[in-house]
Amino acid sequence: MNAEPALYSIRVGGHLGETVLSAFPTLVAECQDPGAQTVLTGLLDLSALYGVLAQMERLGLDLIEVTRPGAAER
């Protein structure tokens, strides 16, 4: 299991407002207009990643995909 932090992108449904975004201070959010989705990106280790996913579950966010950009290049 990879213990080093890696870059993750998490795509959720809808545009996140300031209130919800404040729950993810370590991630950078990018709203994508077609389809109204938000992609949150940041350097996370596995614990942090699962913490973020749990927070999303609590907030009732609609999880669409989790990717590791660049992982395929290795």
Binding site: G17, T19, V20, A23, D33, E57, G60
Partner: protein, 890 residues
């Protein structure tokens, strides 16, 4: 709306209610769906529909590390299902250390099975139950449910419960997110029930935008309620790209009056809220009215108790509110936590108080608060919670907080890590000494209580006495008087006093053999009962049973039974605190010749002793195993156990009261195994005090007998037999008589041998000590005694029965067993004692100097009272009732 009249704003979702109703015929129903899917609402409306007499029990899982509170809540809820049943005999479930969820689940299953009708149990938020042990036990409960019980679980995620068996058997029903989603018709019904008028188009748009998500629809309803232009609201909502929850929470909050908004934001830091606490956080009265109003409007606020004192917010709602609070009033968060902490401290809710003090970042204050209350938390069995509070302190900055060292020492003691506990206590002591003189005296007292416990567990008698002197002074004396000012200090004082009395009593009774030991332990039992600490009561009773063993086996047995019964009522069957009672029980059982029962008890004790309970109990535990092996002729196993006990004792600072027994029996067993030289070497090495002891004298006699020197054996036992040497326990005297009997027999002095047997029987009968005869392998000698010559004929028969492998009657069944013990007159008892012998009725008549007719009359009455049909069944029943052999027959 007063409580208990149903929830008017919950619409009856007939489709789902029918599904649940159908599922209720299965053993288990699981509802799994994400936050806000309407699981809890569905459970509530299903519950409200049941007839009053068939209302299900409801348990809401709270987040906790070990599941203890959860299981206690389930037990309480299940008991509530059968309110008409008589529960006066039972004790309320109490949190305690050494909690066993397995035992509680057994009781829950028993309670469910005892319900006369079909019963339902609803468990909500099961995903909060994270402890693997709790999940294992929940699986067990679900798979072993009695036929009349039905359980509905609601959770956000699929749980690691192994229920495939139930699924294969068709006894598991499942509802998932897709089932819970509102249909368009249900959306329409919800709006209608809430008095909201929308066009068909707007209704469809709302349904589409929320995707039938229950929380979204409910939030929308709250905003639409009294909205000047509902159609416009739906249009704007439909046109927004924001997530449903965030958009609607913001909308709903906007539409609330200022004071409601303010209360919601400021109380969002709490996991549960009461009107009073909310008033403290908002600085204004009236919060209770707002909370009640919000619950009645079904606005994501739910009361947690029937009195509607405590409320919680829907998780999703609470999380969004908290984020909003941090965004809008970032500088107020810390102060709010401080106010909450003060309120919880005042209310005596320590764990929440510590959590909020930590959240405020006041680490030193949090450590102090935690330290001051840690003893009570430990006695409430909150060790896992204590560990999680401890883990929440940031590591570098809190390493030097002395209060936390005391907490760490407590947890180490609980886990049996004595060296770590000592190290943490040393740190605490140094810090206390360095701190200013106005330091709270209770820190001292707590450290003393912990040091006392540690010293006792290590068998360090001098240290125990030193700390006990401070702690056992009466509360009005100088020891506690200095800080017995508040009710809290008095309560802490009483807790510490019970623990101190208990540790002191244990050391006095065991290491020093002082009669004060039992007195102090009895005081501890009484005080624990008085202050309502059943856990301490069991612990002290258990120790008292253990300490009474030397004085009287029957008393020890009675007290140990009491401890075991009280522990069983609380689900502490194999708790470490019960170890002393179990070991005492095993010891009396092996001496009474009840070898199978003894083995069962020792096995239970093995589990209870999984954490180190201290050397005195450890020694007796090894010792009892050794005796059992000896009784069963397993010499090498016995030798190994005695050797282990001997080692353990060698590590103690003070000679153990059983020291003579351990070394004596170890030597005797080695001699019987043929290692005579080793046995002699062992005895040669004992110190002066032990060298002259009765137990060591008996061991010398055994060695002499094994070496074919009966004269030396007689010489060794003579001082024990004639009472010149004081003995710790009468069993040593019995053993000496038996050994003397064997020695006389060896040299052909049969009359003298029989006389020794007679004296052994006389000494052994009151406490029913069968073991010394079995250990010395005296079967042949006993057989040779003519029954008519013995005044203890029936007792002799019983002893021989055990030697030949029979299971003796228990002292316990005599007094406590089912069915009343028949009342026999003194004459009947006299006749009864001759029934196990070979004497005929005329011979009995002549023995008792009465007519044969009189004997026959008595025999008939005995048969009637014992419900026996013949002589042998009468003897059998009399043995079971322990009516034989309670005194000489003439």
């Amino acid at each position: 709306m007063p409580a208990g009249q149903g929830h008017p704003h919950l619409i009856a979702r007939q489709r789902l209610l029918a599904a649940l109703e159908q599922a209720a015929s299965c053993a288990v129903t699981i509802i799994t769906a994400p936050a806000g899917s309407g699981k809890s609402s569905l459970l509530r409306s299903w519950s409200d529909r049941q007839e009053q007499s068939h209302r299900p029990a409801i348990v809401q899982v709270q987040h906790e590390p070990d599941g203890q509170l959860f299981w206690l809540a389930v037990l309480d809820a299940v008991r509530g299902l059968a309110q008409d049943r008589d529960h006066t005999e039972e004790l309320p479930a109490v949190a305690a250390p050494d909690f066993s969820s397995e035992a509680i689940v057994d009781r829950i299953l028993d309670e469910l099975a005892a319900c006369p009708d079909r019963v339902s149990l609803l468990i909500d938020d099961v995903h909060e139950l994270t402890s693997p042990e709790a999940q294992t036990q929940l699986t067990r409960m679900l798979t072993q449910l009695p036929d009349n019980a039905h359980v509905i679980l609601a959770a956000r995620r699929d749980l690691p419960l192994r229920l495939h068996r139930l699924r294969l058997d068709g006894r598991l029903a499942e509802l998932r997110a897709a089932d819970l989603r509102f249909t368009e018709d249900e959306t329409r019904a919800l709006l209608k029930a809430s008095g909201i008028v929308l066009s068909d188009g707007a209704t469809a748009r709302l349904h589409e935008r929320t995707e039938g998500w229950a929380a979204g629809l409910r939030l929308a309803v709250l905003s639409l309620h009294g909205h000047p232009d509902p159609e416009r609201f739906v249009t704007e909502f439909g046109g927004s790209d924001r997530t449903v929850a965030e958009y609607l929470v913001a909308e709903m909050l906007d539409r609330q009056p200022r004071d409601v908004q303010d209360m919601l934001l400021r109380t969002s830091i709490l996991t549960r809220v009461s009107g009073d606490l909310a008033d403290v956080l908002t600085g204004r009265p009236g919060s209770e009215r707002i909370l009640l109003g919000l619950e009645d409007a079904n606005a994501f606020v739910v009361s947690l108790d029937a009195e509607r004192t405590w409320f919680r917010y829907h998780h999703l709602f609470a999380d969004l509110l908290q984020l909003e609070l941090r965004r809008v009033h970032p500088d107020e968060v810390r102060g709010l936590h401080r106010r909450a902490a003060a309120w919880f401290t005042e209310a005596g809710m320590v764990v929440e108080a510590v959590r909020h003090t930590q959240a405020a970042g006041d680490w030193a204050a949090a450590a102090k608060l935690f330290g001051n209350h840690s003893f009570g938390l430990m006695l409430d069995g909150q060790q896992e919670t204590m560990q999680s509070l401890l883990d929440a302190f940031p590591s570098p900055s809190t390493a030097d907080l002395p209060e936390l060292s005391a907490v760490r020492a407590m947890l180490d003691l609980w886990r049996g890590r004595l060296d770590e506990a000592a190290a943490h206590l040393a740190v605490t002591t140094t810090c206390i000494t360095d701190s200013p003189p106005e330091r709270p005296a209770r820190a001292d007292a707590t450290v003393s209580a912990l040091s006392l416990e540690l010293a006792r567990r290590r068998g360090d008698v001098a240290e125990v006495m030193r700390h006990a002197a401070l702690l056992t002074a009466p509360p009005t004396g100088s020891g506690f008087g200095s800080f017995s000012t508040s009710a809290e200090d008095i309560a802490l004082g009483a807790d510490l006093r019970v623990v101190a009395l208990m540790n002191l009593g244990m050391v006095e009774a065991w290491s020093l053999g002082l009669p004060d030991g039992a007195k102090h332990l009895a005081e501890a039992v009484e005080l624990a009962r008085f202050i309502g600490r059943p856990y301490l009561e069991v612990a002290a009773l258990s120790q008292l049973g253990f300490a009474t063993k030397l004085h009287s086996f029957s008393d020890a047995r009675r007290i140990s039974e009491q401890a075991l019964a009280l522990a069983a009522q609380h689900g502490w069957d194999t708790a470490p605190i019960l170890a002393p009672a179990l070991v005492a029980q095993a010891c009396t059982q092996v001496f009474n010749g009840e070898f199978d029962r003894c083995e069962a008890t020792l096995t239970q004790a093995d589990e209870a002793l999984r954490t180190d309970a201290g050397p005195d109990i450890g020694v007796l535990h090894r010792f009892s195993w050794g005796l059992l092996h000896l009784a069963r002729g397993r010499m090498s196993e016995a030798e190994a156990e005695f050797a282990a006990g001997y080692e353990m004792q060698a590590g103690m600072s003070h000679p153990h009261v059983l020291g003579g027994f351990v070394v004596g029996w170890l030597a005797a067993t080695r001699a019987r195994l043929g290692a005579v030289a080793e046995a002699q070497a062992l005895l040669a090495a004992v110190d002066y005090a032990l060298a002259g002891s009765a137990e060591v004298s008996n061991a010398r006699a055994v060695i002499a007998l094994v070496s074919g020197d009966p004269a030396a054996a007689l010489a060794a036992t003579s001082a024990v037999v004639d009472g010149t040497i004081r003995t710790t326990h009468v069993s040593t005297v019995v053993e000496a008589h038996v050994l003397a009997g064997l020695a006389h027999d060896e040299v052909g002095a049969q009359d003298r041998a029989w006389e020794s047997v007679e004296r052994a029987l006389a000494a052994s009968e009151p406490e029913r000590l069968i073991l010394p005869f079995v250990m010395a392998d005296a079967g042949a000698l006993l057989e040779s005694v003519p029954r008519q010559r013995s005044a203890y004929g029936p007792w002799l028969t019983e002893v021989l029965d055990v030697i030949h492998g029979a299971v003796p009657a228990t002292a316990a069944t005599a007094g406590l067993g089912p069915g009343p013990v028949p009342e026999l007159s003194a004459t009947e008892l006299r006749v009864l004692r001759y029934l196990p012998t070979n004497l005929s009725r005329p011979e009995i008549a002549s023995e008792l100097s009465v007519s044969v007719n009189t004997v026959s009359t008595h025999v008939r009455r005995i048969y009637a009272k014992l419900q026996a049909t013949d002589r042998s069944s009468a003897v059998q029943r009399a043995r079971e009732l322990h009516l034989l052999g309670t005194g000489p027959t003439r």
